[in-house]
Symmetry: D2
C-alpha cells in the first residue's frame, strides 16, 4: 500500500516489470521491491509516498465491488458476534464481491474453511479474483448454487446471510447449523428486518438481536479536535439469532 | 451458557459436584453434562433455560472486571484495524481485567501470542483467572512490568495501549514495533485524545485516525420495530496510527 | 424551580401557606416569595437550593404524563419545521398529556391559538391542568372529539398528529389545512412510518421527510470531557409533508 | 419557494418585472403573483415546480452565509433551551450572517427585540440584508461593537454567544444578564468546550450542560425504508448555563 500525504491510497502487488502511474508521478515497482515497510518513496516528480503493509481493514476497503457495501465497522462486530476465529468453519450466502468472505477467510486462518454460496457466476468470479489478490483463495470453497436447494454443510456454528430475501432461507440455514449455532444477517431496510423477524418467530431460532453500528471519525488535529463534517449514516441493520432444537 | 426466557444469562463451567442456584430454581451440573447445545433444560421449579455455547461476544461481556469496560463494538473494530488474526503476535498494555487480552488471544489462535503488560499484580491475577476460565491462558504472556522501561518485544505489527497516560509511552511503543506496524489506543476523554495527538506529532507515527463507535439495539418485535429506549452513549475514543522509520 | 447541588429539581407554584418537603429539609414558600431569581436558599437542615425561573425546556420535562413522551430535542425541531411562531394558528391531535400543546401555546404567544383534539376526556383534563399550571390554558382550545369526524378548522398552516393510527386521518388533516400547509407527525415504530408513507402516496401531500433526532450529553468536566455513559436511543420518528391542491 | 420534483429549491421575492431562470426553463414572476400556495406551475419548457410558502426552516437553510453554519436541528433546541418565545428580549454575539438572528427575530415576534453584536461591518451588512429579505429587520438592533467593552443591555434572560473565543466574554455576558438568565454557546471543537468550561468554573454561572444533536434523515420509501447513506456528523457542541448571583 502506497499512501500520499493527502491520504490517497494505492494497494498494489509488486511486479518487477510494472510501474505505478499516479498524477503525482511514476513509481517503478522494481525500485520498491526489497524496501522495508514504513519507508518513504519518491516518484520521478519528487512526490513522497509512504509504503505500508495493508491491514485487513485496508484490504476490505479496497475490495472491488459489484454489489452492496459492508463496512469494516460491521465486519469486526460480525466476526466477534458469530465467534469466527482460527479454525472455525463458516457458511455464507451470497458471496457477492467477496468482502465479507475475505474477512472470514482471514479470521479462520489456514486451518479454517469458508463455504460460500452465490447463484451469480459473475459474482463468484469477482470474489475469486479478490480473494486471490490477498492470498486467501485456498481457504474458501466457492459454490455456484442457489441456496433454495439447501446448503451441503451440517453442524455449522457460524452462518451468515447477505441476501435480498434472506427470510426465505431460514429452513435451509437451520438444516446446516449446529444446535446453538449463531445466524447473522445484514439487511439494508427496516421492511426487510421486520419481515425477517416475522419469519424467525415460526422457525427454530431463539434470542433474536437487531442492531446498527455507527462509526464517526474525528479530524485528528490536537488543537482543533472535532468530528468530521459528514459521516456514513447507514450501511445495514445487523440481525443475529441462535439455532435451537425442536 | 444458560439463558432464561427474559434474557438473564449464566456462564458456568460444568462440574459433576456442583449445582447452579437461580431464583427460578436449581440446576444440577451433572444433569447438564452430555446434553447437546441448543436444548432446553428445566430447574426443579420447572423453569426453562436454554443451553448454548457462549460466543466470544458472550464471554467478553461476562469478563470479571475491576477496571474500565471495552465493549464488543470496539473490540471487533480493533481486531480488524490492527489486523489481529491467526498467528499474529500482539503487544498490549495495560492488561486490566483481560477482556481485550481474551479477544486478542482468541483471534490469534493457538499459534499466536499476546504479550500483555500491567504494573498492577492484582489486575494480572484477575486477567489470568479470566483467561483460564475461557481456556486461553496459554496463548498469553503476562508481564508484571511498568512499560516506562520499555517492552521486551521488537518488530511487532500490532500494538495496543489501554492506559490512562498512553501518550507517555510512544517512544517505548515505537521501539517494539515493526516499521509500518499499527498502533491502537482507547482513551475515554477528549482531553486525552487531544494530548495523545499532540505527542504523536513529534513521534515517528503517521496516518493518525480518531473515531468512536455507537451501537444501537432494536426491540426485535416485527410488528412494532423500533430502537430500544436507551443505549450506551460512550465507552471511549479509538485512535490508530502507523509506525514509520525516521 | 428549586435545584439541589446534585441536580434534583422541584418546580412549584409559591403559596404563602405551603411548604416544600424534601429529604434535605423543609422550605417555607413564604420565605421564598419576593426573593430574586438566581439566589441560593437554605432548608431548615442547612441544605442549599438554587432558585431559578424554569425555562420552557424545564417545564416540558416536568409535564405530568399519562402517555408517551416527546422530548425537547424533538419539540424544538417541530416548532421550526412547522413554522410555529407568534400568532400562528396550530391544530394538533391527540392532546395527550399536553406537553406538545404547552410548547405550541408558548410559541404562538398571546395572539395565537392552539386547537387541540383528543377523544379521551381524562387526557384532556390532565392537559388542562398542565396548561393551567404554566399559565397557558387560555391560548388552547381543547376539543373532546374523535378526529375521525374531521377538524372544525380550515386553512391551517401547521398541523401536528401524535396518534397511534395517524395514517387514518390524512383526509381530515388535508381538509383542515391551507394549500402548502405543513403536516408533522411523530411515530414510535418503523412499521408506522412505513404505513404512513404508503397512505401519503395516495393523498394530496408532497415533499415527505422522515428523520430522527439524537441528543447526546457530555459530562461537563473541563479536564475530563466526555459523553455521558448512557443516552436516550429513541423517542420517535418525525415525519413532515406539505399539503398540496389536487 | 419553488421546488422541483427532484428537490431543487428556489426561494424568491416576487417582482412583476423579473423572471426566474432555471436549467429546466423560465418562470415569469408576473405569472406566479396571485396564485395560491401549494399549486404546480410550469416553466416554458413544461417542467413543473411546486409553489410553497417557505417555512422558518427553509428560510434558515437559504440564509446567505460568510461564516460557519448553524443547522435548524440546533436552532430549534436553542430556542426552547433559552426560552426564546414571543416578547422575549434576546442578546446575541456575534451576528455572523444572521441565520440565528433570523430565527430569534422570528420567535420573539413583533413585540420582542434581538440585540445582536458583531465587530465585522461586512457581517452586519450581510445579516441586515438577510433579515430584510425575510421581513424581520425591524425586530433586530444590529450593533457594530466589540463585546470586549461589554453589552449595553441589563437584566437579559436569554443570551447566546457564537464566537471563536466565547470563553473571554463571560464577565460581559453576566453583566448583561438577569439572575437566573440562561446563557447558550455553540462551539465547534472539543478544545473550545473544555476551555469554556474551565472559565465557567470561576465565573458566576451554574448548571453547565454540554450536548450535541444529531439529525438523521430516512429515504421516504414505504417499501424500502432506510436512513440516507450519508449524514451531517457535526456542526457544533452546544453549551448552556444559568447566571447566578454572587
Amino acid at each position: 500500500m502506497l499512501i500520499e500525504k493527502n491520504g490517497k491510497q494505492f494497494i498494489i502487488q509488486l511486479d518487477p516489470d510494472q510501474r505505478l502511474q499516479t498524477h503525482r508521478g511514476v513509481l517503478e515497482h522494481r525500485d520498491l521491491i526489497g524496501l522495508e515497510w514504513g519507508q518513504k518513496v519518491s516518484t520521478h516528480m519528487g512526490h513522497d509516498f509512504l509504503m505500508l503493509q495493508p491491514s485487513m481493514r485496508d484490504l476490505l476497503l479496497h475490495t472491488k465491488r459489484l454489489s452492496q457495501i459492508i463496512y469494516p465497522k460491521e465486519i469486526g462486530y460480525i466476526l466477534l458476534r458469530l465467534s469466527i476465529g482460527p479454525g472455525t468453519p463458516v457458511v455464507e450466502a451470497g458471496t457477492g464481491s467477496g468482502a465479507l468472505t475475505t474477512a472470514f477467510a482471514w479470521a479462520v486462518g489456514p486451518r479454517g474453511t469458508v463455504y460460500s454460496y452465490d447463484r451469480r457466476q459473475d459474482m463468484l468470479e469477482l470474489a475469486a479474483r479478490n480473494l486471490e489478490r490477498v492470498g486467501l483463495r485456498d481457504r474458501v470453497e466457492l459454490n455456484h448454487l442457489d441456496i433454495e436447494a439447501g446448503f451441503s454443510e451440517r453442524g455449522i456454528g457460524s452462518l451468515f446471510l447477505d441476501l435480498p430475501h434472506a427470510h426465505r432461507y431460514l429452513r435451509q440455514a437451520h438444516a446446516a447449523m449446529a444446535n446453538g449455532g449463531i445466524l447473522g444477517v445484514i439487511l439494508p431496510t427496516v421492511n426487510q428486518v421486520s419481515r425477517f423477524l416475522s419469519e424467525l418467530e415460526g422457525a427454530l431460532f431463539a434470542l433474536p438481536e437487531v442492531c446498527e453500528i455507527m462509526l464517526r471519525f474525528y479530524k485528528p488535529n490536537p488543537q482543533r479536535l472535532r468530528p468530521t463534517d459528514r459521516m456514513v449514516a447507514h450501511t445495514g441493520y445487523l440481525l443475529f439469532a441462535r439455532a435451537v432444537s425442536g
